[in-house]
Symmetry: C2
Subunit: 410 residues, 2 copies
Amino acid sequence: MIAVAERARAASHGLALATRARKDAALHAMADALAQHEDAILAANAEDVARAESAGTPPNIVDRLRLTPERLAGMADGLREVAGLPDPVGEVVRGSTLANGLELRQVRVPFGVVGMIYEARPNVTADAAGICLKSGNAVLLRGSSSARSSNAAIVAALRSAVESAGLEPDVVQLVPGDTHESVKALMRARGHVDVLIPRGGAGLIRSVVEESTVPVIETGVGNCHVYVDRAADLDQALAIVLNSKTHRTSVCNAAESLLVHADVADEFLPRVVTALQDAGVTIHGDPAFAAYDGVVEATEDDHGCEYLSLDISAAVVPDLDAAIAHIRRYSSQHTEAILTQDLAAARRFTAEVDSAAVLVNASTRFTDGGEFGFGAEIGISTQKLHARGPMGLPEMTSTKYVVTGDGHVR
Amino acid sequence: MIAVAERARAASHGLALATRARKDAALHAMADALAQHEDAILAANAEDVARAESAGTPPNIVDRLRLTPERLAGMADGLREVAGLPDPVGEVVRGSTLANGLELRQVRVPFGVVGMIYEARPNVTADAAGICLKSGNAVLLRGSSSARSSNAAIVAALRSAVESAGLEPDVVQLVPGDTHESVKALMRARGHVDVLIPRGGAGLIRSVVEESTVPVIETGVGNCHVYVDRAADLDQALAIVLNSKTHRTSVCNAAESLLVHADVADEFLPRVVTALQDAGVTIHGDPAFAAYDGVVEATEDDHGCEYLSLDISAAVVPDLDAAIAHIRRYSSQHTEAILTQDLAAARRFTAEVDSAAVLVNASTRFTDGGEFGFGAEIGISTQKLHARGPMGLPEMTSTKYVVTGDGHVR
């Protein structure tokens, strides 16, 4: 692992200095290579799919693993989109001339070597390689063993493209070995790997966060709340609750918890219960909700649960303070929304709820790099250090101070 | 420890919402309290000093521990200076109106609860409390056991001032217990403590970085290099080398390594060897340097050593590439300086040397929050995540996205 990381380090020096033109040319070559290697990649993917099916893997997981010509074309399009984004490297974040004449500039620079640990979807392999290359970082990719043939074929295609564009192919490498030992080695490679980004289920992320000595950016666990205030427009609220819960259930920005102000409970509960149930949602409710047919009584665990399915926990709260207190207790600090026409309530909620994104009168599904206009997203950080919320290209960089004088001493 | 951290968390909610006026009033009250409690603090400090002396602690360490009326007044002045700095909380870092009309703002918010682990100097207790309070963070202070009486007296004074200014005193707390167990508990309090900042020797910092599950900002180990290029102004170079090495030796931005381009070695080496030796510096040199009287032959360890004393490693390099390669191999990536009049050499050095600060024709001693105009400094980050280089008040914050719509769904 150290040898692999050191090859990445050596290759990263050239990449850090590469012009935007060269990096964009490499990204286009990578996109083209996915098309050129389509047969090999789909054949490798068929091996992974067959192995998963014969191991009795659930169909929805097999589906995530499966590549098609359309999905491969989507991966290529993603790489071309990254080529179209501004280069974060070299951006001057701040600068000044100090009183003594020293010229100070804080400039964005790549991290160096980024480690990615991720689960089933092989498209992450191309996405991560593209985002890391554009941000000047060498990347060590450690996908799940279930996708090993697909990932090997994708990386082979990408490396040939990187080399053809005049960059060192070792800026994109698969981590050798598919046992947990290789993950452990990556997590202990402090000094050789600059940042580790885990993407996947809560268990994977927790284990990386707890075991890694390499600095980690924690991503993606979302127990997102929608709070319907007493001053909500209830028609809007109904639409936003439904969209937040049902637009896509397996994603971290889907709503998992609904809170309703007691003053509007009599009017809103019958409507929202019916609408959610009509959409196939199982409501895990407090006693106020459980009075409605088909609502399951919520346990303590329900309120803290990230279902990622057509389930939602629900409770009536006496006031805004109780809503904020409930969110503080159960939230994963990813995204919370207040639905209200009351400016004071909106101001208090956005000030006092400490989550990566706090929304007013909008669906939780908007917490997304694409929706925020960042163009590409490597994940959504739920930690407070370095980056919080959707991470685009600038979040994949560090900075350095460049200070220029003419003989300055203290 | 969890109970202490949870009290800090509860108190932090009010602090996060406090106006700048209230926080500045608290900082002035804290400064005044240090004067009002001077007798108690100096008496407590005398206990610590007596204990250290009877334990045979070296005089320079005892001196760091010792408080005087002047040093206490300096601590109070530091708190008043922090009161004069802009409030980072609430600063809008970026913002836009998205194509669909959603209003997006990225706003600075406090981390929440910050843990500080630090060594002998009791002034860090007041400095850290002031910087954390101004940036809206509750702080858990874990100073060295040798300063426990001083720290307890300082914190008692600060807490009474915080309370008198109308803020919860639990925003400033000493970590109970002075065994290593309490440090361990702090490092394992993930979810209860948001960020841990170790300040002190390399051993302390390494152990926190390796053992903590709480996100850490690594500070301060500096093996800083000065590279004298063949195009250097040698008079300037002599002054900068001397200033970088001898202005203050015990600090992380002091130079520990000198590199000289071969083309100017014959002219520069006799001058720099004499000047450094006249200033009391022991040179640990490569064979070119070791040819001079009094220069000690360098071992491999010397080139990677942070001496923090009147010692410097020194080598002649054949060209700029060799200088950069040497720095990549041995540097702690804190601060490196090139001394040159050649613009191309300066551009290459600043682009290719990946350190928190890269200086051109200036002393390494300028890498400092005060010198950079930040006004207060909690430490100098040598990691790439979150903050790199001197950390002022903005670096003690996270951000959140506040997104406002009027019924937006996807």
